[in-house]
Amino acid sequence: MIMNWVALIPALPALSFVVLLPLSRAMRKRLLWLPPSAMAASAALSLAAFVRTWPGGHHEEPVWSIAWALGHVGGRPLELGLALDPVAAATLVVVTIVATCVQIYSLGYMHRDEREGWYFAVLSLFTAAMLALVLSDNLLLTFAMWEMMGLCSYLLIGFWYELEGPRKASQKAFLTTRVGDLGFLVALFAIWANAGTFELAEVLHGAGEWAPGAALVVSLGLLWAAMGKSAQIPLHVWLPDAMAGPTPASALIHAATMVAAGVFVVARTLPIFEHAPGVLTAMMVVGAATALAAGLMAAVQHDIKKVLAYSTVSQLGLMFVALGAGSAVAALFHLTTHAFFKSLLFLGAGVIIHAAHTQDMREMGGLARHMPVTTATFTIGSLALAGVFPLAGFFSKDEIVTVLLHEHHYVTVGFVLLASGLTAFYVTRLWFRVFSGPEQAEELHEAHRSMLGPMTLLAAITLVAGFAGPTYAEFLGHEGKWPEVTVALISTLVAAVGIGAGWWFYGGRSKVVNTRVWKQRLGYFYDALVQKLYFDLTYDTLFIKGYFRASEGASAFDAHVVDGVVNGAGTAWVATANGAHAFDQGVVDGAVNGVADASKGIGGLFRRLQTGRLQNYQRLVVGAVVVLMLIVIVSRGA
C-alpha cells in the first residue's frame, strides 16, 4: 500500500523553511507557530510510520520506498530515493521527538532575539535534512543532506554573527567537517566506479565482488567522513567551539542529530566495512582514544556547555567502539538513548545559563534550592549519562560492553570502563558545581513552563527508554537480550567509583572549590588538558597559519613571477640588447609588458640601423647584394 505520506516527514520542516525564507523579520515573528507545529506533525507521522513498520525485523524489502531520476550520465540514469525500513523508522522517531522538544523549548529561550524567525527557519531546514538523511537509501542523497546539515550548522553556530566568537567558530566547524566530507566524496567515486550506482541496497549487496582495494577506499572514506561529522579525534576540534551557537541549537545538532549522523551512516554501510576488517579495528581504536581523551578534557572544563560538548565527543567515541566491534545495534541503541539524555542536559544547561547569567561553572552554585524541576530533570539526565542503573544510559553502555566482551576486545573494554568512570566523575563534578554550594547569582527563579515541559518529557523517556533495549534490537532484526548480570555489576561499580570521587572532591562543600589543588597534584598534565591537548594550537600553527603563508606566497608568486615571466623575459632580453637605455620607459606601458619589452629592445636595435645617412644605406644595400650573391654561389656550388 502506498505510504507516500512518509515523504511528508522531511518535507514538512523543509516547507516551513521555504515559507519563512522570503518573509521580512516582522512577518517571520508572526508566523513563529509554524515551525514547531510542522515539527510536531512530522513527529506524529514518524510515530505512525513506526507503528506501520512494527514488528520490524530483518527482511529484504523496505516497507515503503520511492525513487526518482536526478539525471542521466553516459546514458545511465542517476537515481535518488527514500525508503522506510526498521532502522530508519526507529531513528525517525528519536529525531522528530528531540527536534519537537527543542523547537518548543526554543520558543521560550529565543523569545527576546529579534532574528528569531531566521533561527527557526534554519532549524527546520536542518531537521528536514537530517530526516531526509535517515530516510535516504541512496548514498548520493545522503551526501547531499550531509553537506546541507553542515551548512545549517554553519548558519546556526554563526547565528550571532556580529560577535567575533561565533563567526570564527562557524567557519571552523564548516571547514573541519568539510575536511571529513572529502572522504565521503572519494568513497562515492569509488562506489560509482565499482558498483555503477549509489542505491544503498545494491551497493551493499555487490560489495563482495568489487576490485580488491575498492572496499578499503570506500570504508576509509566513510570512516574519515564520520570522524569529521561526529567530531572524533583528530577532527573533533570544531565541536567545543561550536558551543558559541544558541544552546537549543546545540542541543539538537551537537547532541542528538548531526553528530550522530556519522554513526548512523557507518551503521547503515557496515557490510562494506566487513570487507575491510583493518578499518573496523581502526574505528575501534579511534573511538576508544576519543572516548578517553574527551572524557579527560571534559573533567577540566569550566564552561558548562564545553563539558557537555566533550562529553558528547566521548559518548560518540563509545558508539564508534561499538561499530568497530561490528555491532550496529549496540551503537544505534546508545545513539538513541544518548540523543535523549544529552539533549535533555543541553536544554537544562540552557535554563541554568539563563538563570545564572553565565556559562562559567565557577560562578554558579546553589541552584537546587530555587529551581526544583530543572534540578530534578537535570539529575535524571546526569545519572543516565553516568550509567546509573534504572536509566537509559546504563543499558546502552552495558550493551556496548557485552558486545566487546563477546568479541574478546578486552583492552578496549578497559578503555570503555575507564571512560565511563571518568564520565561519572565529571557529571558529578558538574552537578555539585551547579546545584550545591553557596549561591553566587541573585534572585534565581524557575524557567518558563514552555521550557520545562520538553525537559520533563525527555526526562520521562530517559527513565523508560533503557528497558526498551531488547525489543529495540529485535525491531532492528537482531536477537535482543538483557545485559548479563556480571556486566551490569561491573559498570555499576565503575559508575559508583566515579560518582564517589566526584562527590569526595566537589560534594558537600560550603565554600567555592578552586582548581589550584589539581594543578599541584597533576602539574603539566593538567595544563595539557586545559590546553585541549594542544590540538588547536598545532592545527592553528601548522594548517591555518601554514595555509595563510602558502596563499600569500602563491599570490605574490602570481602577481610578480608568473606575470613577471611575461615581463621578465622582456627585461632580460632588453638588458642583453645593448644600448637598451636609449628608449624611454614611458613608451613601454602601452603594450604587454614582458613580451613588449623584448620586442621593443630589438625594435630599438633595428631603428639604430637607420642612421639617416645616405652613404650608410648605400653601403648596406651593396653589402646585402654581395651577401645574397655569396648565398647563391655557395648553395649553387653545394
Binding site: R607, Q610, T611, G612, L614, Q615, R619
Partner: protein, 103 residues
C-alpha cells in the same frame, strides 16, 4: 685577335662596378649621379654585347638598349633637378650632411 663576348662582358662589368664604387663613396650629390650614369653605361654595353653575340638576327638587345638609355637619361635629368632644389634651399649638396630623418 678577335674580341669575344667575354671581353665585352668583362669591360661592362668593370664599368658597372666602378660606377657602383663611385656612387657609394662619393660625397657630392652630382658626383653620385655621374657614377650612377657610369653604371647605366655598363648595362648598355652588356646589352649590346649580348645582342651582337646571342641574338644577332632579331637584335632584341638593341631595342632593349635604346629603351634603357632613354630611361636612364630621364632619371638623371630628374635627379639633377632634385639636387638643384636641395642646393637652393640647403646651401649644400653634401649627401651626408642631410641626416635629420632617422630612427
Amino acid at each position: 685577335m678577335t674580341l669575344g663576348l667575354e671581353a665585352y662582358l668583362m669591360l661592362a662589368a668593370l664599368l658597372f662596378s666602378a660606377g657602383m664604387y663611385g656612387a657609394v663613396s662619393k660625397k657630392g650629390a652630382v658626383q653620385v649621379l655621374m657614377s650612377l650614369e657610369l653604371m647605366a653605361v655598363g648595362v648598355d654595353l652588356n646589352l649590346v654585347a649580348f645582342s651582337r653575340y646571342v641574338t644577332p638576327v632579331e637584335m632584341t638587345g638593341q631595342f632593349f638598349t635604346v629603351f634603357v638609355m632613354i630611361v636612364s637619361a630621364a632619371e638623371i635629368g630628374l635627379g639633377l633637378a632634385l639636387v638643384l632644389a636641395i642646393f637652393r634651399s640647403a646651401r649644400s649638396s653634401e649627401v651626408d650632411s642631410l641626416a635629420e630623418l632617422k630612427g
